[in-house]
Symmetry: C2
């Protein structure tokens, strides 16, 4: 089955999926995106993703190209046409095509592009035994809360991680760990408190983050949404990261410093299991 | 004559000029650009622009898609095909097309896109009487020295300026004016010293900036490359901005505060004239 993508109203062969060179997404990174996971052809937390998408668009004053309800129908159709049971949906909206000029064009129709790909879940070994992360200075702009296409700071950090075979780069602003290049970052203190950076302008408030914090609170884990330092991280009892594609992934090493015992901690593994149940409830899939 | 653009090896009708949706320029703003002015079909300071282009690419570890010499030939041909005597050339290089993943793809061919447009020179009135600028917080990332496609911070500032009919937004980091959203910023003190932010990671070192500073020094104007505060700007004797499309443009008002007498100052106008001569020498065009 060949790959099919959706571009501005049409389902097209992926290799023929094109946008205009003056699409402002291409020239200015003037747009936003979302990434959904799906299992058994069912999106995980679709409502939360669409809500964040609407917020990102509103922050950039970009109009919705169609209702989120219509988008959900297009996504379902695209998953069908790609013949996948499990995988990921990447959806991008830019301000649209206009003669190049920094200020917003007066009349412009937003562009909508959707692709479907295979699952990017971490390996069983990674989920069970954890991964290592490195740290990089957080050089990104001050509106990381917008899930925008301005991702150069993120990809440079991720590339540095990839070069040393680390799963992720945690970004450090001053002494504070903000988040990963494409995931949120957490530590568990020796007292058993779960710490993660507050969802302000400095980080992208992950959907998996929201769900995991809710599950933690429900199960009487103390959650502190406050910034933590790199030194705190290195002396933490546990650490982990979350994202739509990584789920709850234990972090056992930060910059070659073993975290806790060097093995995934009990709170991390509890949350991983709770999150797996959360997915099962919505999609019927055991991961 | 219809508009013709260059896309990855082909001269195409502009309305059919397309790139793939998984071009990393579109999904990650993973690329760089240059903008050249031309008069009498001759590029202004082509060598300096190509040098900066090579630096931007090197900083992002993107290969040159072809030699800059070959690019110059393509540009000349494109100007010809568009039948323009004077105007601008926009050239964009992205890392290329690859399945979406933050880290750099292993094997990828950079994308090269070039468009030609009409001149964007300020009006005669603006060049003679000056323009007003507003200020906005500088929320951009820490590598503004790379002329990258990550321009969301720039366009949001420029849009705010456009909404109040200001020519430009000067960006303020703490108390310091770094630069404009798409231009460099200068003041002249009451002592007659020309001040502009040093060309470090916080600003994009403009080609017009380099040329104007060289011309200033040659004509015995004292140049200080140091940061200046917004308060200094507001009490300066003169102010102006430079860019490839604005040349040397007097700034007579900052945030509704008149600068100096409220009219373009003598050093600004001297530099505007010197820059016009610089263009005349290269292209034979009087602007």
């Amino acid at each position: 089955m060949s790959r099919v993508s959706y571009v501005n109203g049409a389902y097209v062969h992926h290799c023929e999926a094109m946008v205009h060179i003056e699409d402002r997404g291409y020239q200015f990174s003037d747009g936003i995106y979302e990434y959904f996971a799906f299992y058994n052809r069912t999106l995980v937390d679709a409502g939360l993703h669409f809500k964040r998408l609407e917020r990102s668009l509103a922050e950039l004053q970009i109009a919705l190209p169609m209702s989120t309800r219509a988008m959900a129908i297009v996504i379902r159709e695209l998953i069908e046409r790609n013949g996948r049971e499990d995988g990921g949906v990447y959806l991008q909206i830019s301000r649209g095509v206009a003669r190049r000029d920094h200020a917003f064009p007066k009349q412009v129709k937003p562009s909508l592009v959707i692709t479907v790909c295979g699952s990017k879940l971490p390996s069983e070994d990674q989920l069970k035994n954890g991964v290592k992360v490195i740290t990089q200075p957080d050089i990104r702009w001050d509106r990381c809360d917008i899930k925008s296409l301005s991702l150069l700071g993120n990809i440079l950090a991720k590339q540095t991680a990839a070069e040393v075979k680390a799963r992720e780069a945690w970004l450090v602003d001053g002494k504070t760990v903000t988040e990963g290049s494409a995931s949120n970052a957490y530590i568990v203190t020796k007292k058993g408190e779960l710490i993660t950076h507050p969802a302000n302008h400095a980080i992208l408030g992950g959907i998996t983050r929201d769900v995991v914090l809710k599950l933690a609170r429900k199960h009487k884990i103390t959650v502190r949404e406050r910034s933590f330092t790199l030194a705190e991280a290195k002396s933490a009892a546990e650490a982990f990261m979350t994202s739509t594609s990584a789920n709850v992934l234990p972090v056992v090493m930060v910059d070659n410093q073993r975290i806790g015992s060097g093995k995934p901690g009990p709170i991390t593994m509890q949350l991983q299991e709770l999150y797996a149940k959360h997915i099962f409830k919505q999609t019927g899939k055991r991961i």
